[in-house]
């Protein structure tokens, strides 16, 4: 009995023989990770893939487009000085706004700002939210209590006021804006990450990691973070449109980017004022904004389905 080979897997391994060089050389089979599975599922979701493509195209156009447009976003065409319909000869492919600036260039510039704010602010929220959430969830106890009470208090503060005050006190600095927005969005992110961490904390593989000699920091980095990433990715994709919308709202109120810099929200604000005369200046940026928001939301939904925890 003691010398009988133990069979299992697809080989019969004899325990008394150490590994042979031949086995070492056998080609290692590539595994199929859960991420790959999820990506496959995402690819099957046509709405999500279409949205992703639209977003990429939009982003490329916004960032590379200005190279192809003869006018810049702040240049005033002294010949026109008013909202004029599209004129290909003069290079105004979409016409001009009420001050004679090229509408297409401004829309592209607006897109750049919206995308940048969306992504950067979300990145700020991501870093803070994940750190706080993972720590609170995993360490628990007083750390958790303290952090979460802090989050609760922050929720109670009317965030619009908070941003407005920041803007007023520090001036309308472009970087400050996305810091401010990021600082507001991290709250929900941290709650989500904390919830996910709490679920994970009780899973056996975390206990196994502790039994294998892992320290708290080790476990958070090696095990918790990769496993909350799924939820985080979905939430990030759904936060970006919220941020863009928030920034648009701020710009609409006149608190966002400083002119002549513009964002889609600011363009919509301008366009709204001359809605009856030149609806074009309102509709075009509005369509861009709506499309972007739609696409992010579809993509987020698709990601959520693809990363369905049922399959983990």
């Amino acid at each position: 009995m003691s010398d009988a080979p133990i069979s299992g897997g697809r080989s019969k391994a004899n325990l008394s023989v150490p590994h042979s060089a031949a086995l070492n050389k056998a080609a290692e089979v590539e595994g199929r990770s859960l991420w790959q599975d999820a990506f496959r599922r995402l690819q099957a979701n046509r709405a999500a893939m279409a949205s992703a493509i639209v977003l990429i195209v939009l982003a490329v156009i916004c960032f590379a487009g200005p190279l192809f447009v003869p006018w810049s976003y702040e240049e005033i065409d002294w010949d026109i000085l008013e909202a004029a319909p599209p004129d290909f000869e003069k290079g105004h492919y979409l016409g001009t706004d009420s001050l004679g600036r090229d509408l297409l260039a401004r829309i592209l510039q607006g897109g750049q700002v919206s995308f940048q704010v969306g992504i950067l602010a979300t990145a700020v929220a991501l870093v803070i939210g994940v750190s706080v959430g993972a720590m609170a969830g995993f360490i628990g106890g007083r750390v958790d209590q303290f952090l979460m009470r802090f989050v609760d208090v922050m929720y109670a503060v009317p965030l619009m006021f908070f941003i407005i005050i920041l803007m007023v006190v520090f001036g309308r600095n472009f970087y400050l804006m996305f810091l401010a927005i990021g600082f507001v969005e991290w709250l929900t992110m941290s709650r989500i990450v904390r919830g996910q961490t709490l679920t994970l904390k009780n899973k056996e593989f975390i206990e196994a990691a502790r039994a294998s000699g892992g320290s708290t920091a080790n476990i958070i980095i090696r095990h918790i973070v990769p496993n909350v990433l799924g939820v985080v990715i979905v939430y990030v994709t759904l936060t970006i449109p919220q941020v863009i919308l928030l920034e648009s709202f701020l710009s609409f109120l006149g608190l966002g980017v400083q002119p002549p810099m513009t964002s889609w929200g600011a363009l919509i604000a301008e366009g709204a004022q001359e809605m009856e005369i030149t609806p074009r200046t309102l509709i075009l940026p509005a369509v861009c904004l709506s499309t972007t928001l739609f696409c992010f939301n579809f993509l987020g939904d698709g990601l959520r389905d693809a990363l369905d925890p049922k399959d983990r």
């Binding site: 299992g8 590994h19 089979v29 593989f205 039994a211 990769p226 496993n227």
Partner: protein, 328 residues
């Protein structure tokens, strides 16, 4: 006779459960483990059996201090684990490992089999290079009956039995001295259970491990243990050598347990005399006075309610907690 590795004395693990109070909570202790003592010698297997709520899983975790002890001593190689600092505990864990019940849940779904098995090496052998770690992992995979070239596969790509082998490889890669096996085969098919039990036995022989084998399956425990301990509601009912426990059980609970295990033989199974227990398992929040088993015991007397039985010695190495063990 070698010194016992592990000496557990009067171990208690109580969880405070909130049972009332409006502003100020009123807490009642849930006595998961309530005064368990035993020794474990090098190279020996102690089987821990009992049904749900007996505290066996909590006991296994408390020995490794994955769950804190409320009271009692867990003396490992002379040091009391309950009094160690976090850092010292991590050091001690090098020799104290665990294999879990649910093969898939105990593996991080986002890590490859190779990474999972290598994790203890990362923690305790930082001087090893990546290549050395990989070699060690492949060697271990072979020993537990896995194909080394599956090293990059993810847990969901393996079967239940293979996942359990990964878990065993992870537990054994540091050549620990004690491995707690918490229901390691309960979630596996019968034909695979036998393979894994045999694997554990060979590894034990090869590495000279001590095993704390926790299970509700009395038949499996019989195949792997040297001594067996029966728990009920967090207390020891009986502890004996395998032969003594299975052929001459003295505690009514052990007798009922043994008679309840179905025998895969129709004539024997249908004709056997079964000792059926009455009633339900009492809540661990309010265990019965005296002997905790008395509410379901067919032989209970008034004395069982008044006095908690202490552990009597039936013979060398066989102890039982019952007032009536000597009356047949």
């Amino acid at each position: 006779m070698t010194e016992p590795f592990l000496q557990v004395r009067d171990l208690k693990v109580h969880f405070p459960v909130r049972t009332g109070g409006i502003l100020i909570g009123r807490y009642t202790p849930l006595k998961a483990v309530d005064g368990v003592s035993f020794d474990l010698n090098p190279g020996e297997t102690l089987g821990v059996v009992g049904e749900s709520g007996c505290g066996k899983s909590t006991l296994g975790r408390a020995v490794l201090q994955l769950v804190g002890a409320t009271d009692g001593v867990v003396s490992w190689l002379g040091r009391d684990l309950t009094s160690l600092s976090k850092r010292q505990l991590i050091e001690a864990r090098e020799n104290l490992q665990i294999v879990f019940q649910d093969p898939l849940a105990s593996l991080d779904p986002r890590m490859t089999a190779g990474d999972i098995i290598a994790e203890p090496l990362l923690n305790y052998r930082p001087e090893m290079t990546r290549a050395q770690r990989r070699d060690a992992v492949k060697d271990m995979m072979e020993r537990v009956g896995l194909l080394p070239r599956m090293i990059n596969r993810y847990p969901h790509e393996f079967s239940g039995g293979q996942c359990q082998r990964i878990g065993i490889a992870r537990a054994m890669i540091l050549r620990p001295k004690l491995v707690v096996c918490d229901e390691p085969v309960s979630a596996l098919d019968v034909s695979i259970q036998a393979q894994v039990v045999n694997l554990l036995k060979s590894l034990q022989r090869e590495f000279g491990l001590a095993l704390l084998f926790i299970s509700h399956d009395l038949a499996i425990v019989r195949h792997i243990s040297d001594r067996v301990m029966v728990l009920y509601l967090g207390k020891v009912m009986e502890l004996a050598n395998k032969a003594a426990l299975y052929t001459n059980p003295r505690h009514p609970y052990t007798q009922a347990l043994l008679s309840a295990v179905p025998i895969p033989d129709p004539s024997k199974e249908r004709n056997k005399k079964r000792i059926l227990l009455t009633g339900d398992l009492p809540s661990p929040l309010s265990p019965p006075s005296g002997c905790v088993f008395r509410t379901r015991c067919p032989k209970a007397t008034q004395m069982c309610a008044d006095k908690t039985p202490s552990l009597d010695t039936v013979e060398m190495g066989h102890i039982v907690a019952c007032h009536l063990w000597n009356e047949q």
